[in-house]
């Protein structure tokens, strides 16, 4: 080994890093945790103003406070998941449960140490053996100086693990309505757990593909009625980014949660950026000045990861290139073999870009559709009334019709691109006409996405079918 420790080290680091599961879409969880930290910072700032110098020592937990000392509770402390008795197959094993209560440890973040001041107040939400491992969700009350808060901590261990073998496997805000956990790898598969409030119904499904009719296809993996717990094993998968799972949690007619199952996946991190040959084929019929190949490759690679498609199994068509807000922009489609067509509009460059449109279309006639997308303000999230339009080949005129309004013609440039205005909250449709006036095709102008997590086509704002 010592003959070339550098090579050995490089190989070892890469092999070790490949064992780390990462979330395919970390944004929703990042935002939730960030919002929680911001709340704590705001409260702490107000509290410190009152307690002055003494509070500084308490607040960073340099001077520990006793557990009975009254604290300022952060609003997110109550947990809808911790109501009621512990759930899962290990709930009756009191010795094991008592042992697990001793496992949570103080948590550190840049603000200081979050101390567990009352271990008797730790509650086990769920503990059970699931395929391949033992898993538990634990409600942990915490204190940072004079601020009290709580969090939900996942613990996992090998099948039949003793409490001290259980290791922390992520945490979630205590006020979350649904906690999800997933761990899977490309070679061995894994498992997923979804915990909703006691008494709720939990269904877990897995992504199968994009149907030619323009809908996201999924298959049900598990469903449980009235337990508030969903568990499924996961077979090995070659899907880009690992298993794409969705959960639906309901209570009666109320939908508590409908969205992705977050968790970790480990596998090869192959680039999905298209090769130069692929791009050459993709831009064969592009209208407008074709952009820098590196930027286009980055845009397409991002879209493929976003849609969980492999660059080797899709047809890419760049319909239009140009500039939006003075930055390179493209409208392109990707179509998996025998599947639906996903349109992406993106502008930016290789260092940063914005996805303006994700829209799943039926395969039939997709190339003949006019496509329009709404724009947010550059540099912010404000919704504007600006709508960009790209005409299909053979279209002579384009009109945009706002619901209950009259058709408004859109002036097109030589690349078939134009802009118009539509009130941000009004549904609209874009229609292409041939020179002799016949209608070629119409496409709804999709509403703004409210949550860009999840697959394109999974929400009504990102598909036109159903």
């Amino acid at each position: 080994m010592t003959a070339d420790v550098e090579t050995e080290l490089r190989d070892a680091l890469r092999a070790e890093a490949d064992t780390v599961a990462v979330m395919a879409d970390p944004w929703p969880r990042f935002r939730r945790r960030e919002a929680g930290h911001r709340s704590v910072r705001r409260i702490r700032a107000g509290a410190i103003a009152g307690f002055l110098a003494a509070a500084v020592g308490f607040q960073t937990n340099l001077i520990p406070l006793p557990g009975w000392f009254p604290g300022i509770a952060v609003a997110s402390s109550p947990s809808p998941l911790a109501d009621g008795p512990a759930r899962g197959g290990l709930a009756a094993d009191h010795n094991w449960m008592d042992g697990l209560r001793r496992q949570p440890i103080d948590l550190q973040d840049p603000e200081g140490w979050w101390r567990i001041t009352d271990r008797d107040a730790i509650r086990i939400v769920y503990a059970d053996d699931i395929p391949g491992r033992r898993i538990a969700l634990v409600f942990v009350p915490l204190r940072l100086g004079i601020i009290t808060d709580s969090t939900l901590v996942w613990f996992s261990g090998p099948p039949g693990a003793e409490p001290e073998q259980m290791q922390q496997a992520g945490n979630e805000p205590a006020d979350t309505a649904v906690a999800t956990w997933m761990q899977s790898d490309a070679e061995n598969g894994g498992a997923a757990v979804v915990i909703g409030p006691a008494g709720s119904t939990v269904t877990i499904s897995g992504f199968s593909g994009y149907s030619p009719k323009g809908v996201v296809e999924s298959h049900q993996l598990s469903s449980s009625v009235g337990t508030g717990i969903g568990v499924t094993s996961l077979p090995p998968t070659t899907l880009v980014g690992g298993p794409a799972l969705a959960a639906r949690v309901t209570s009666g007619d109320t939908v508590i949660y409908e969205g992705p199952v977050h968790g970790g996946w480990s596998g090869s991190d192959d680039s999905q950026e298209p090769t130069d040959e692929m791009l050459t084929a993709a831009i064969r019929d592009t209208r407008g000045p074709v952009m820098d190949r590196a930027i286009l490759a980055r845009f397409v690679g991002h879209a493929l990861r976003d849609s969980r498609l492999s660059v080797h199994d899709v047809t890419i068509r760049v319909r239009w290139c140009g500039k939006i807000n003075d930055r390179p922009a493209a409208l392109f489609t990707i179509q998996p073999t025998n599947g639906g067509v996903i349109a992406y509009a993106i502008h930016g460059d290789t260092t940063g870009w914005r996805t303006d449109l994700r829209l799943l279309l039926p395969a039939d006639g997709a190339e003949q559709r006019p496509i329009a997308w709404r724009m947010r303000a550059e540099g912010g999230d404000t919704r504007t009334d600006r709508v960009n339009v790209v005409a299909p080949p053979g279209a002579a005129t384009i009109v945009v019709t706002v619901v209950e309004g009259t058709p408004t013609p859109v002036t097109l440039d030589t690349s078939g691109f134009g802009t118009t205005t539509v009130p941000p909250d009004k549904p609209a449709i874009v229609t292409a006409h041939a020179a002799e006036g016949t209608t070629l095709m119409s496409t709804p102008v999709p509403a703004f996405e409210t949550n860009s997590g999840g697959l394109p086509g999974a929400s009504t704002n990102t598909r036109i079918t159903g």
């Binding site: 420790v5 890093a17 960030e34 991190d269 860009s452």
Partner: protein
């Protein structure tokens, strides 16, 4: 964050989360800590996003925050017992020994001082240049070179039979 581009930051998070988590894990040896570390570094980056976009490379900035935080955080988990290397073990090319060697190498890496470990992870996992590592760590390229050299020497020393350890230590790691 008055006029900053939230969407660009979201894309940044999507692009960087995986690589940062893997680097954080190599720095800390703990998956849970790694995720907390990445969350913390990205939150700090978010707070200064506008300024970072104008004055700094976001990828360098977030790594600087993450590495500095990793170095300063106290260990809060029990360390894994590291079995002593059998000095008489014969290096074998089979898979078992390769895996064992790799395990020993990673354990040796985790025994290094945090900044020295960070230099090696950034150099041999992230493939950063010495200049970029210096920017991340806020030090000179000369310091990076010497830290890398000493780090590699310690790894060699940890993995050599005892007689060689003494020799290597005397030659390359006088501190």
């Amino acid at each position: 964050m008055p006029d900053d581009d939230e969407e660009r930051f979201r894309e940044f998070v999507l692009q960087q989360w995986g690589p940062l988590t893997r680097t954080a894990y190599l720095l800390t040896g703990d998956r849970g800590v790694a995720e907390d570390l990445v969350q913390s570094a990205l939150e700090k980056t978010h707070r200064r996003w506008g300024r970072i976009l104008r004055k700094d490379a976001p990828g360098v900035y977030v790594r600087r925050v993450m590495v500095n935080t990793a170095v300063s955080w106290r260990r809060r988990r029990r360390t894994v017992e590291v079995p002593l290397l059998d000095a008489d073990a014969v290096a074998s090319p089979d898979d078992y020994h390769r895996a064992e060697n790799r395990h020993q190498l990673l354990q040796a890496l985790r025994r290094l001082p945090p900044r020295m470990r960070a230099v090696l992870v950034l150099r041999y996992f992230e493939d950063l240049s010495e200049a970029d590592i210096a920017r991340v760590l806020g030090c000179s390229t000369g310091t990076v070179k010497s830290q890398a050299s000493r780090g590699l020497a310690r790894l060699r020393a940890d993995l050599e039979p005892p007689s060689t350890i003494i020799e290597t230590s005397l030659q390359e790691d006088p501190a």
